[in-house]
């Protein structure tokens, strides 16, 4: 055929661990996605190693890698297809970043419904990880705001809405790219009047007090997050800085921040500095991190109410430093993020205690509350507490420490977040995500031959490379793909034709009443009542 689509390159996630090589295909137009999937499917029997999409590579581990196979760089799909300024419904290509959405739409009075701690993620990555923000307790996760998406699967291209094919829609939400490549999505944005936030900041002297404040007070705020000092011990264990707030209305702002109508809305993010090289591992050690934590805690006001902050600083403080992941040195780092149900809040304390006893410095420790999860079988959020810890590789017993934390999380009925994971054991993953078999059934329907593969999928036993061509060799067939204990779900219309994904096209999507936020701008920005959630 023609020249190969991709070029070999080494890839890692944001944590810069476990690099693997793949053929990277730049999705310079959406047709290339389909062609790349076809080629991957065709090369299966000749030892081909499948295909996976990659966005901006902000997942920490191996989710957007595919050793020996093809990786579609979806950041090329960067067109904004359609914006309905009146309703805030936008249709964009999946490689558009949340940063671009903010730059373009905040001036028009619309903000992304969910933003993670970095705006440098793509819409595709946001859907594939079903990301959450500081507003999860009010607004749920990203996919609750997705009205429709276009998914390219080995069986063809499908337009999906939660109504048209709920199983596939929700298997894709949080499905880490393993159900297909998302090429476009329609999202209901939320109305804002300005690019400022009104923020209440308070210090909490210990963990109990911060958790108490969050339990009793979070419902009154749309956004809430606590930064925790994981090094202080004893009575000060878990001392924190709690920041909570909501979008500022024009009238909330002092005159000087209002300016002409558009200025107060302009969203101008900046990278202030860039980490120019990779310092040796060990720069972020207990000493330096301790100094930083002390500084951060003291810098925070003891209690401050309704202070205007620009959105960029409030949501994405780290984006001010480009490639800060290099600060962890050549060995890289990982993030451990888990969620436990409300009744097991004490797990948060146990985990922090454990970290302080081994004197392992977590530069970033962030505590949030989750509201109800959405129907995705692999979607991470569930009601309760979520704690995220950045940890350097190099501490000699990190493996045992994290395995022990897994155990605590499992016994509390919780789980870890796949977008952050780079080390959970396959069996532990299955316990944490008990609905994985449901997900596998849907995946087998749209990808019966397992063309969609990633390193994360291999590590967790969700995909396999054992050469088991779709031929008569029943023995090797049996060996493929399923980790022990999985039920094989027969692809829907018996073996043969690999086109089970039905091609539905829906056109009734701009119906704003089906969204999670009303478009009634007056006063909604300060509303604290949870809007109706779809599908929980």
């Amino acid at each position: 055929m023609s020249a190969p689509l991709g070029r070999r390159g080494l890839l890692t996630g944001w944590g810069r661990t476990a690099p693997t090589a793949a053929d990277v295909v730049h999705a310079v137009d959406p047709d290339i996605v389909g062609r790349a999937i076809e080629e991957a499917a065709a090369s299966q029997s000749a030892g081909g190693r499948g295909i996976i999409a990659r966005g901006l590579g902000r997942s920490y581990g191996d989710a957007a890698q595919n050793a020996g196979g093809t990786v579609v760089d979806a950041t090329w799909l960067d067109a904004i297809h359609k914006v309905d300024v009146a309703s805030g419904v936008v249709t964009v290509a999946a490689g558009v970043s949340l940063q671009t959405l903010m730059e373009r739409l905040v001036p028009l009075g619309w903000f992304v419904p969910v933003t993670p701690g970095t705006r440098l993620v793509t819409v595709g990555g946001a859907i594939a990880a079903d990301i959450h923000g500081k507003n999860h307790h009010i607004d749920g996760s990203f996919c609750s705001h997705v009205l429709e998406m276009t998914l390219v699967t080995p069986g063809g291209t499908v337009t999906l809405s939660p109504a048209s094919d709920p199983d596939l829609f929700w298997a894709t939400a949080g499905g880490m790219g393993l159900t297909g490549v998302i090429t476009a999505a329609t999202i209901q944005m939320i109305p804002v009047e300005t690019s400022y936030m009104l923020v209440d900041t308070e210090r909490a002297p210990d963990l109990d007090s911060v958790m108490d404040k969050m339990l009793t007070g979070d419902d009154a705020y749309r956004y809430s997050v606590a930064w925790i000092d994981c090094q202080s011990t004893g009575r000060r264990l878990g001392r924190s800085v709690l920041t909570r707030g909501d979008h500022a209305r024009t009238e909330d702002l002092p005159e000087r921040l209002r300016g002409p109508p558009d200025r107060g809305r302009a969203f101008v993010p900046r990278t202030l500095v860039r980490v120019p090289f990779t310092p040796p591992s060990g720069l972020l050690n207990p000493l330096t991190v301790g100094a930083f934590n002390e500084f951060w805690f003291r810098k925070a006001p003891a209690h401050q109410v309704a202070k205007p902050h620009h959105m960029a600083g409030f949501f994405h403080p780290l984006d001010g430093v480009g490639e800060w992941n290099r600060l962890y040195g050549s060995k890289g780092f990982l993030q451990y993020q888990f969620v436990v149900p409300d009744e097991h809040g004490e797990t948060v304390r146990k985990v922090i205690e454990r970290l302080t006893t081994v004197k392992l410095a977590s530069f970033l420790a962030v505590l949030k509350r989750f509201g109800p999860g959405d129907p995705g079988p692999l979607s991470f959020p569930m009601p309760g507490w979520t704690l995220a810890l950045d940890l350097p590789i190099g501490y000699h017993a990190l493996d045992e420490l994290l395995d022990a934390l897994d155990e605590q999380v499992v016994s509390a009925g919780g789980r870890v977040y796949l977008a952050k994971d780079s080390r959970v054991a396959p069996a532990t993953f299955r316990t944490m995500y008990p609905r994985v078999d449901e997900w596998i059934a849907v995946r087998n329907r749209v990808d019966p031959h397992g063309v969609l593969r990633s390193d994360l999928g291999r590590r967790l036993g969700l995909c396999s490379d054992r050469s088991a061509p779709s031929t008569s060799d029943g023995r090797s067939r049996r060996r493929t793909s399923r980790p022990a204990g999985t039920k094989r779900v027969a692809p829907k219309r018996g073996g043969g034709a690999p086109s089970p994904a039905k091609t539905t096209s829906t056109t009734r999507r701009t119906d704003t009443t089906s969204t999670t936020r009303t478009t009634d701008t007056a006063g909604t920005a300060r509303t604290a009542t949870p809007p109706e959630r779809t599908g929980t």
Binding site: G15, T17, A21, A22, D62, A67, G68, K331, R423, R459
Partner: protein
């Protein structure tokens, strides 16, 4: 896949009954290595080694027939093993014999045979393995070399030169694999008190299979390219290699 903390999920050992390899496998299995494939000449020791890996909790612990000297079959052998078991995160090249210097010095056939076992045949198998690792885009090849290869000694120069060849081969192979997702780690133990050295008086800085295994596991985690066991040998041999020939030749032992 090797995870962020350096834990492999599958391992293939060339020279499956090796005491050092078994010590390494014994550490990998409790740390999540689910698939252990031991390639070697059929023997009770080989099947017992698989038995031990299974007892330690490996899901798959199998033996496959492999002889380093069976060069024409290496390619087919390696393809079969990878086709049957899937990816290997780790491949350990452990096969090797020490030989008896007194015999080797007088017997060209025995000398050639040792060189084939330790170097030619094993290097050929590594070529086949590297091909599959390159194809899978990830993996680590661990080569059990020896400080004996850093500078040949009159008392065991046939063995020493086989290790020198293997070591140089592994270095070059490692460099050629940069950017492919595959890496090579060379392990250079000193005198290891164990089966291979049974009946010999331990040299200075002698070590144990367990210590070698620890160093290897640590090396996988840190992504090391060369590991000395004990680590002080790195400095000892930096000096040894500089000694004048006259002094080196007269070193005892």
């Amino acid at each position: 896949m090797i995870d962020a903390i350096g834990r492999p999920q599958s391992v293939l050992v060339l020279g499956g009954s090796s005491e050092l390899a078994q010590a390494i496998v014994a550490k990998l299995v409790p740390a999540r290595c689910r698939t252990v494939v031991l390639a070697g000449r059929e023997s009770e020791r080989l099947s017992e080694a698989a038995e031990r890996a299974r007892a330690a909790g490996a899901d798959v612990a199998e033996t496959v027939a492999f002889d380093t000297t069976d060069i024409e079959h290496h390619l087919a052998f390696v393809d079969q093993v990878f086709d049957r078991f899937g990816d290997f995160d780790l491949v350990i090249a452990a096969a090797g014999v020490l030989g008896t210097q007194g015999v080797l010095e007088r017997d060209p056939v025995a000398t050639a045979s040792l060189l084939t076992t330790n170097f030619t045949g094993l290097a050929a198998a590594m070529v086949a393995v590297a091909g599959r690792l390159r194809h899978q885009g990830h993996g680590r090849l661990i080569v059990l070399s020896s400080v004996a290869g850093l500078r040949a000694r009159k008392v065991n120069f046939v063995y020493g030169s086989s290790k020198a060849g293997l070591d140089a081969f592994a270095q070059g192979l490692g460099d050629s694999l940069v950017g492919t997702g595959v890496s090579v780690m060379i392990v250079r133990p000193g005198f290891v008190v164990g089966r291979m050295t049974e009946g010999m008086t331990p040299a200075p800085f002698s070590t144990t299979p367990d210590a070698v295994a620890d160093a290897v596991v640590k090396g996988i985690e840190s992504g090391a390219g060369v590991v000395y066991v004990p680590s002080v040998l790195r400095w000892v041999f930096a000096v040894m290699r500089q000694l004048p020939q006259l002094v080196w030749r007269r070193m005892p032992g």
